[in-house]
Amino acid sequence: MFNFLERNLPKIIIAPTTLAMIVCMYGFILWTGLLSLTKSRMMPQWEFVGLEQYIRLFQNPRWHVALDNLLIFIVLFIVISLIIGLLLAIFLDQKIRAEGAIRTVYLYPMAISFIVTGTAWKWILNPGLGIEKIFRDMGFANFEFRWLVEQDMAIYTIVIAAVWQSSGFVMAMFLAGLRGVDDNLVKAAKIDGASTAKSYWYVILPIMRPVFFSAIVILTHIAIKSFDLVQALTGGGPGYASDLPANFMYTFAFNRAQMGLGAASAIIMLFGVLAVLIPYLYSELRERPA
């Protein structure tokens, strides 16, 4: 009996989690996939209509706005967060004074929920309350910064707020990575005559490749599941100009009783994630057979 426990305890402990994951992740993915093939409206309805919901989805102009926005958002959010996070980490790594305090300051936004971030930035970016008003009050009467209320620019305000929130976190990851770099390698590079910039570029950053990997995976999933930030910052507006697919899905599945259409959009989102992540995971993991 004791032997049995000893041999199987790890499996027994992991079993509930595995079960929960199979049901709650893969089970519901399957369920959503099936729903997307039905004509479900307010309630699930098992009358299959093939790919009709997908056709309707791609005929909907609002869906195309959401997809374009997602593309803009993912690219800008990940690239800018990585650059800012990396630069902050490198600056902090120069053995400066009060590093602990500064690190905490940069990391703090991560402790706030996206709802709070969104609400705060909504006020900061509001032309009548925030930046524009401050500059105008200072005497720059023609100063304009009103992306929040412009249809073409609203999505960039979401990028700003998301970058503000996440780059500190990226910094922490890079900082940990930098601290893990073997000092001897840097010294060797210095002896060979590499400048600081060159030693970072050719020696340290390549070593930190796994950190880039983790950061990109984490940022990608933050970006794709972004919903609360949009809801709080712009409400998808002006009009529906700053909608992301998650907002689209919620609106259609829950507010507008078009469950089949909502499910179809969720499945497309899933494929979007897979299309980005699978090649990346494949290329990264292939090199480290472990």
């Binding site: 307010m42 609002r62 009548g128 209320v149 078009q258």
Partner: protein, 417 residues
Amino acid sequence: MKQNMKMTSLAAAAFMASSTAFSAGEVEVLHWWTSGGEAASVNYLKDKLDGAGVSWSDFAVAGGGGENAMTVLKSRAISGNPPTAAQIKGPSIQEWGDLGFLADINGVAKDNNWDGLLPSVVSDVMKHNGNYVAAPVNVHRVNWLWSNPEVFRKSGATIPTTWDDFMVQAKKIQDAGYIALAHGGQDWQDATVFEAVVLGIGGPEYYQKAFVETDMDALNSDTTTAVFETFGKLRQFIDSNSPGRDWNVATSMVINGEAAMQIMGDWAKGEFKVAGKSVGTDYTCTAAPDTSGSFTFNVDSFAFFSQSDLGNQQAQKVMAKEILGSDFQEVFNLNKGSIPARLGMSRDKFDSCAHDSMDAFIASSQTGGLVPSFAHGMAVSSAVSGAIYDVATNFFNSDQSAAEGASQLVSAVKAAK
């Protein structure tokens, strides 16, 4: 002595009421009336039912337009455990009825002569396959224009009664340095203004054909383009900070004299009241331009779900009866700013806006000017009204031409049907 007798009989009545409470069952009521005046109104119903020996189990799910509440309701209904009654309105009642969840309360309706008390446009919404399944609590009029007379005086403008005149007066107000139209850039508010323009420019007949029956020929007509032309002209009269603004913030701009007008349903009256303003002097309510003979209605109601427990079935009937009782209708609507859903009630306690609303309600029901509000989920399914929202809000926030707006509306409605 007489006093004493009264007390004794009261006590006896109370005792009897409390003893029947054991058998009379319980109502569980799903609603999203959680803000001040609304919560007070619901509490009044609760007390009413307590008096009739029915206990009330509150199932409030907060969140604006009730989206959260609907999500909860769906999961409860699917798991076979729906509440006794839920705040559902308009065509959604039919959707729930089609799914077979709703209880037939024809007995109560017949005993209390609901067919006689309710105007037929209202009672039609409450019936599924000819049977009453829901009870109305109020009637909101949506096509109101709220104005600040002070701002009008200062800008030398007069309150417009037609859309052509609106453009002239709004220009004057703007030139005088005020915001002409207070507006919040959220899709349902865009749709509320759009609805007023549709009704004003197209008239009730066109409104009924195009936005209630979603008749493609009516939607595909020049009238639709004309509607979008007027709607587009309004863009210049709102301030550029409007996107995302809540409706009550827009109302406060009218209250503070920053803005001259707002187009909003009669729930806006509550904001003026809370601010201590009095109707006629501090603010006025008039019909939205070109819609004085018409009335876009938004009726809140409770739909009743089938119950297996006999006691709860009984309690459900008591609740249905109380909702249409004149006491509840009066208290509830005084709090909410709307008018009672049933006819033939004393109107002494209501203010002049409500009186106007009542008169317009009765008059328009005879002329065909009484139409359901599509911006508030009374006219078409949520899929179609969502499509209209999308087109209206996208048009209003862009610089699309009227022709583009009209053609997008036609294709969006077609796709959503």
